[in-house]
């Protein structure tokens, strides 16, 4: 079949050239229109269900809201894990589905199940909402607005009702959330003494406010000619209008709302706020749609924002663009990868020319790069895969690889044409090209398939690693397969078109020079088998020992010109305190020259998916565009500015991508995490403390931390049923009274243009914020509700809360966490001075002896599990792939000896790869492991080339078995082996050198591992393999 393909290509070479030109054109089109993104979708299919529960504490949200929702959602087909968090005012359930589940179908199933909860949730709970479908790196853009002229209410009003709808209308935008400012509502701030003065109750005020506005259909009037629509304008449009509403008539005089309350425009109670560079403002977070194009959507957004700009100045609004801009990372990464590709291509071109000493051969070889890469991009685009850091990284790593096939082919063709030119009766160029192509074709095809085969485990990796690295594998494999196709078709066709005239050319001088020296060295080494073997064994043993001591991490730290700073105070910290502390931090960070903006988002926002309390803030720190060194200096300056300067708050600093990845890992961030499950919250808290003590006694433990879930100051109101019964009061009466007074009773909505404004009746702030006044709250007492009784005195028909309830301080829970519908606590731990595996094993042993309360269980897990699982998977899948490789090599070479001699390249490569990892600090991450996988595929090709050539010399050319066969074969293979190795290495060199630069965090270590492995495997392939082959690869005449 291969012969037929090559023959057809040679025969129809013009067609092939035209087709390749078309491939280039379509590939460019695909590159231009492909979706560009930061990362592939690394979040498993998941659905987030959020339920707002105004006023309820975490301990109440959990049983009343979260548990019914969990019960409804448990058992959704394809569900892997169900996690939930209950905090004050909010329930968040996160359903994580198995890989491969269709996320749209999953959302449909969840929505159907949620309808079951209708009627099960308490009054006042807003309907559960399924969060919008966004991608894993969904946050596209964060911009900010401040104003000296507009109040926080007015600014937020503008952002909510003018800006947000316009941004939502931009194609590709899934969600826009706002932080900061104040959400406007009409508040009827009731003064209880005025109610007494007018002999009214809170209920009267509630009813009056409820009826103060409304919209009703009024129908139409019609006569023989016309129909007129009736419309009643009875809405309130301002607080002043609302204040006019009548509450009661007192001796013919109306008592209005404004007579018993301050009716004002006010902010609804906040659970989040924002500041920009230390000033109050509004931040706008824009999220893109699932599988949306980041760059394109960002451009459209920015165009829309620019259209709004002229109006902002008039209103006195200052626009802060790009507090965070994800597209920056893509553009930078694209730029870096493009630069690396171009540089690599140039270096490859130089090497090719130096080795081949012929511009046409260099050109034919070089053409494989754009054809292969664009062909791969076309395949990815057709399959709907975006161009992101990983796919571009895969293509970048493939640069050197894709040219290898062409180089081997062209080199052989060129050599055979030169040899043919020296014959007395030279054959036709077409025949030479065909035979030369076929000569190397078998080995190269097998080598290519082996490269693809060793990459198979990457496609089957599960979890985060699989989702991240599979696209890299797809891109790499696609490029390699396209390069094979190019080598089978385009290279022979172009060779026939361009090279026949090169038949009289001389051997390249460099090649002549190194071949001589190489052969002499080889002959000397041939006499020192023991020395060579001992050195090899020593190096391999050293590599094995070094590998044993490698540390590990799942993913490297991402470096972008943007940091996300998590700042947390203890539960109970107020929102103004969080903002004030954030402002202090912002002022300090703004002094660092590299910092451009610092924006803070404290707490959460209504439409966001985060379940944080107001003691928690995220600060976005955007830096200038920096190189690796300046970046490290800036990072160190940030940490120095924070370390020990802001007591009372703990800080964590992440890059944007690292932070997104950490959130995806869903809580298991620490190396060791013990999950404690049980029914009783108190028991699992106590168990957590006991477990923390037990772990603290293990050698190597550090920074042991039970997850804080308690510590929220609470004022508890506990009714006394007997006293309440005395006044004919039920629990609901007390609940309603307290709810209306302190949380506020939302009684109606007003509509102003496109704005929806809530009408809320609430106690006036002066009393509401006084803890000592809670017990004095007046409650209507139905038991004394007769007119006669009420005539006796102003308070005859009402009582104070303290008469029927105890009010006391307590310590409450601010978070209740579930996993799989079961309550959960978490104890995390760092490990120092020993390996994590042994620590985890010892922890499991110790915890196994711990006596825990009945019903409480614990499991040792952590980020190490993730890495270990990935390693196990890679190992097992790698073994399977290895078996496949062995089978393929067996099919290609027939004998066990040759097979083993080819495989001796693997330890050769291992030595260099391990040396590279050691020089990077001895930390093996998944990227490095994939680098090893890639390396093994590449180096196997070199072994195949050597062994197959010896086989060809012996079987096809009849060279007798002996040292001369070995030395001649090695000499003849020196140039292509060196070329392919150097070309591959040079293609990777720019990426390897940019290790540490933003955009090369994953590919850099991969490239370094491959580079290191290439150095040793090429050297040992050329020097040690011939020696070993001469001793152990005795001629085998069996087919």
């Amino acid at each position: 079949m291969l012969q037929a393909i090559v023959q057809w290509s040679i025969k129809n070479r013009v067609v092939v050239v035209v087709l390749s030109a078309l491939l280039l054109a379509f590939g460019l089109h695909a590159a231009e229109h492909a979706k560009l993104d930061v990362f592939p979708e690394f979040v498993p299919p998941q659905v987030v269900v959020q339920t707002e529960v105004p006023g309820l504490s975490a301990s109440e949200v959990e049983p009343l809201v979260t548990m019914p929702i969990e019960q409804a959602l448990n058992g959704v087909p394809g569900l892997d894990v169900l996690r939930s968090q209950s905090i004050q005012g909010l329930s968040v359930c996160t359903l994580i589905f198995e890989d491969g589940v269709d996320v749209y179908r999953a959302r449909q199933l969840v929505a159907e199940r949620l309808t079951e909860t209708a009627g099960q949730l308490p009054d006042g709970v807003k309907p559960p909402k399924v969060g919008p479908l966004t991608s894993s790196t969904g946050r596209l853009l964060v911009v900010g607005f401040t104003s000296e002229k507009l109040s926080p209410l007015a600014l937020r009003d503008w952002a909510q009702w003018t800006l947000r709808p316009r941004l939502l209308a931009v194609r590709g935008v899934a969600q826009v959330t706002l932080f900061g400012g104040g959400v406007r509502e009409f508040q009827v701030q009731v003064d209880p003494e005025k109610l007494i003065a007018h002999h009214l109750t809170f209920t009267d005020v509630l009813n009056a406010a409820r009826q103060a506005t409304g919209v009703r259909g009024a129908g139409f009037q019609e006569d023989a000619n016309q129909r007129s629509i009736l419309r009643v304008e009875a809405q309130v449009h301002s607080a002043a209008e609302l204040g006019q509403a009548v509450v009661a008539m007192s001796e013919g005089t109306p008592v209005r709302l404004r007579d018993v309350a301050a009716v004002v425009d006010a902010e609804e109670p906040k659970f989040g706020d924002a500041a920009i560079d230390g000033r109050p403002g509004v931040t706008v977070d824009v999220f893109k749609q699932f599988e949306g194009d980041t760059l394109e959507t960002t451009r459209r957004l920015e165009a829309e924002l620019n259209r709004l700009r002229p109006g902002l100045d008039q209103q006195g609004i200052v626009y802060h663009p790009a507090l965070f801009r994800q597209a920056d990372f893509i553009e930078r990464a694209l730029g870096n990868v493009t630069q690396a590709l171009l540089l690599g291509a140039v270096l490859v071109a130089v090497v090719l020319f130096v080795f081949l000493f012929n511009a046409r051969t260099a050109l034919i070889s070089l053409l494989a790069i754009p054809l292969s890469l664009l062909g791969a991009i076309l395949i990815l685009w057709t399959c709907g895969v975006s161009l992101n850091t990983m796919t571009l990284g895969g293509l970048a790593i493939a640069v050197g690889e894709v040219v290898d096939d062409a180089v081997i082919d062209v080199e052989n063709i060129f050599r055979r044409l030169r040899e043919n030119a020296r014959l007395s009766r030279p054959r036709s160029a077409a025949a030479i090209v065909l035979s030369a192509s076929l000569e190397v074709r078998g080995a190269v095809v097998y080598a290519t398939f082996i490269v693809v085969l060793v990459f198979m485990p990457v496609f089957f990796l599960s979890g985060l690693q699989g989702r991240l690295f599979s696209p890299l594998g797809y891109a790499y494999v696609a490029a390699v397969l396209v390069s094979l196709a190019v080598a089978l078709t385009v290279t022979p066709a172009l060779s026939l078109l361009l090279l026949p005239g090169a038949g009289g050319a001389q051997e390249p001088p460099l090649v002549r020079w190194i071949q001589g020296g190489y052969e002499r060295l080889l002959r000397r080494l041939d006499r020192e088998l023991m020395l060579v073997a001992t050195c090899l064994a020593t190096l391999v043993a050293a590599a094995g020992w070094a590998m044993y001591h490698f540390g590990g991490e799942s993913l490297p730290e991402m470096r972008e010109s943007h940091f996300v700073l998590h700042m947390q105070g203890i539960p109970g910290t107020s929102l103004p305190q969080s903002i004030a502390a954030g402002n202090a931090v912002s002022r300090s960070l703004m002094k660092i020259p590299a910092v451009v903006h610092v924006s803070q988002q404290a707490g959460r926002t209504e439409l966001g998916e985060d379940a944080w309390g107001v003691e928690y803030s995220e600060l976005e720190v955007s830096l200038k565009d920096l190189g690796a060194e300046d970046f490290e200096a800036a990072e160190e300056a940030l940490k120095a500015a924070l370390r020990d300067h802001f007591p009372g708050f703990s800080f964590e600093i992440f890059s944007f991508l690292s932070e997104r990845i950490q959130e995806t890992i869903s809580g298991v961030i620490a190396p060791i995490a013990v999950k404690i499950r049980g029914d009783d919250l108190g028991e699992i808290d106590r168990a957590a403390l006991a477990i923390a003590r037990a772990i603290g006694a293990i050698r190597g433990s550090d920074n042991i931390r039970p997850e804080p879930q308690t510590g929220q100051p609470e004022l508890v109101i506990r009714p006394r049923p007997d006293d309440a019964a005395h006044y004919n009061l039920r629990a609901a009466d007390i609940l309603d009274a307290v709810h209306a007074a302190y949380q506020g009773a939302e009684v109606a909505q007003a509509y102003d243009r496109n704005r929806i404004i809530n009408l809320v009746v609430i106690l006036e702030p002066r009393i509401r914020n006084d803890p000592s006044a809670i017990g004095d709250l007046w409650i209507s007492a139905p038991g004394a509700g007769s007119a006669a009784a009420s005539a006796l005195g102003p308070t005859s028909d009402r009582i104070q809360l303290k008469q029927v309830a105890d009010v006391f301080l307590s310590d409450g829970r601010f978070l209740v966490r579930h996993e799989g519908g079961v309550r959960q606590q978490l104890v995390t731990c760092e490990v120092r001075g020993r390996d994590i595996e042994s620590f985890a094993a010892e922890a499991e042993r110790r915890l196994g002896t711990l006596s825990l309360p009945a019903g409480v269980t614990c499991t040792v897990t952590g980020a190490h599990e993730v890495k270990r699982a990935a390693q196990r998977e890679l190992l097992s899948l790698g073994l399977a792939a290895g078996a496949g490789v062995l089978l393929m090599l067996g099919m290609a070479f027939g004998t066990l000896r040759r097979l083993l001699l080819i495989l001796v390249n693997l330890p050769f490569a291992l030595v260099g790869g391990v040396a590279a990892v050691s020089m990077m600090g001895g930390v093996l991450d998944v990227g490095s492991m994939i680098g090893f996988v890639t390396l093994f595929g590449i180096t196997t090709r070199n072994g195949i080339m050597m062994v197959s050539h010896w086989q060809h010399l012996g079987e096809a050319e009849g060279v007798p078995w002996g040292p001369e066969l070995i030395f001649r074969g090695a000499r003849e293979r020196l140039a292509p082996v060196l070329m392919t190795a150097i070309v591959t290495a040079l293609g990777l060199l720019p990426i390897a050198l940019s290790w540490g630069e933003p955009g090369a965090e994953i590919e850099g270590p991969m490239a370094l591992v491959i580079l290191g492995g290439l150095v040793t495997s090429t050297g040992l392939n050329l020097l040690a393999l011939p020696v070993l082959y001469r001793r152990f690869g005795m001629r085998d005449t069996s087919p």
Binding site: R258, A542, G648, I653, L809
Partner: protein, 461 residues
């Protein structure tokens, strides 16, 4: 042979050195890189040491300034528990008077003056109008009969007065020897006073009928058929109700109009029963619960409007006869002090629209007062700004400055609130709870201290 052996050894040594050198170089570089990674890689969490030293949070002056921490000294205050109580101004029957017609007849307004309308201020004796009687023989007979009855009642009253005077004299003589208790003498005096009162009433009635008959006997003589008598306001007051108008026929004794003296408000206060151990308070300062509308709506920040009414000092009258059977508050009446001189000056030339001291205290007005429960005694206490007190683990805490930038947590007990201050118990000499006067506390930003002390604790304290 030897040279070959040396050459072989040299080869091995050189190879060993080369391999060893490579391995050592790789190991050294690895060590350097590992150290660098450890330095940067472990610090996603920015660890700051706890600034807690033997229970004192050493924040430091820089950090305190950065956070805007403010300190305020605790000040001494006298604290006694006060309960808010509520009440209402009720109609005061003692301040109400009715203009009655002594005779049956027809009402007539005073010539050249209008019949008083509601809201008009009247002084005692101010003419209101006239009552015209029809004098037929039957009416004259009735009047004479009335006069006779009045004379007989007067004679009876005189006799009773004489008897009571004798009784008093007798008992006085005996009481000097202390044989009879003083109570009997007091009772006798009360009865004498009552008898004298009845005599005075009877005498007044005789004079009234005599005068009326004398008037009827004047011009017109016994043949006259009408008799007119002026009607006057019996006491100071404001006309609140008109029950009759000129031209109406009224019966004898009918109320023609009601007058209320609003300068004598009566307030009914609802007192919690639990506070009545030693009886209701004798005096209170009551404030009106204003029904005034606040500032127009639409402003973001509103302050409560300043009260325009001064408080009213009221004194206990006695228990209110009606009981609130649902809430079981005990109702007591209180009345305001009436300054006669002031009252007179207020009515001199008074007319509608003139402000008077108690013009706002109309029946129906809701009032409130603060009452000190009998068991509550004024006690020394300390006051701190509201921002100084924090709540943690069910306790109330403050942070006391021990030296600049260093604060120590102290548990406190809250007595109550006074405006923008919490009132706390003072610290006992060796106590761990409470605050001493002039101890300086963190009044703004104290949450940072709490956060620093309790962040990252493995165990609660």
């Amino acid at each position: 042979m030897f040279r070959r052996w040396i050459y072989a050894l040299l080869k091995w040594v050189l190879a060993g050195c080369a391999i060893g050198g490579l391995i050592f170089a790789a190991y050294w570089v690895s060590g350097e890189m590992r150290a660098e990674r450890l330095l940067e890689g472990d610090e996603d969490k920015i660890q700051s040491p706890h600034r807690l030293n033997q229970g004192v949070v050493e924040l430091g002056a820089d950090a305190a300034e950065r956070y805007g921490l403010k300190d305020t000294p605790a000040r001494a205050v006298a604290w006694s528990l006060e309960l808010p109580i509520y009440g209402q101004v009720v109609p005061n029957s003692a301040a109400a008077a009715g203009v009655r017609s002594p005779f049956a007849g027809t009402l007539r307004s005073t010539p050249h003056a209008a019949w008083p309308e509601p809201g008009r201020l009247l002084r005692a004796g101010d003419p209101v109008g006239w009552i015209d009687l029809r004098l037929a023989p039957q009416e004259r007979l009735n009047l004479r009969d009335n006069l006779n009855s009045a004379r007989l009642r007067k004679e009876g009253a005189e006799k009773i007065v004489a008897l009571q005077r004798e009784r008093v004299k007798r008992i006085q003589k005996v009481s000097e020897s202390q044989i009879v208790p003083g109570q009997q003498l007091d009772d006798a005096r009360v009865l004498l006073a009552d008898a004298e009162t009845q005599l005075a009433i009877a005498t007044a009635a005789v004079d009234l009928w005599k005068e009326a008959l004398a008037d009827m006997a004047r011009p017109g003589g016994p043949e006259a058929t009408t008799y007119s008598r002026p009607l006057a306001a019996p006491a100071d007051g404001t006309v609140v109700e008109l029950t009759a108008r000129p031209g109406m026929e009224v019966e004898a004794g009918a109320v023609v109009m009601q007058l209320v003296d609003f300068r004598r408000p009566l307030v009914r206060m609802d007192l919690p029963r639990a506070t009545l151990g030693a009886g209701p308070p004798a005096r209170l300062r009551v404030f009106p619960i204003s029904a005034e509308p606040p500032a127009p709506g639409g402003v973001l920040e509103t302050q409560p409007p300043a009260s325009t009414s001064a408080p009213l000092e009221v004194f206990l009258v006695g228990p209110s006869p009606r009981v609130d059977d649902a809430s079981q508050f005990a109702g007591y009446w209180y009345t305001a002090v009436l300054d006669p001189a002031q009252a007179a000056s207020e009515y001199r030339g008074a007319s509608l629209g003139d402000a008077d001291t108690h013009a706002g205290w109309r029946p129906g007005l809701r009032v409130k007062a603060n009452m000190t429960p009998p068991e509550a005694r004024p006690q020394p206490a300390v006051a701190v700004p509201v921002g100084a007190v924090l709540f943690h683990q069910g306790r109330s805490l403050v942070y006391v400055r021990v030296r600049p930038g260093a604060y120590e947590r102290r548990e406190v007990k809250i007595l109550g609130r006074q405006g923008d201050s919490w009132v706390l118990t003072p610290r006992e000499s060796s106590g761990l709870v409470g605050l001493s006067v002039d101890e300086v506390v963190a009044s703004e930003g104290g949450q940072v201290l709490l956060s620093e002390e309790f962040r990252g604790d493995m165990e609660s304290d």
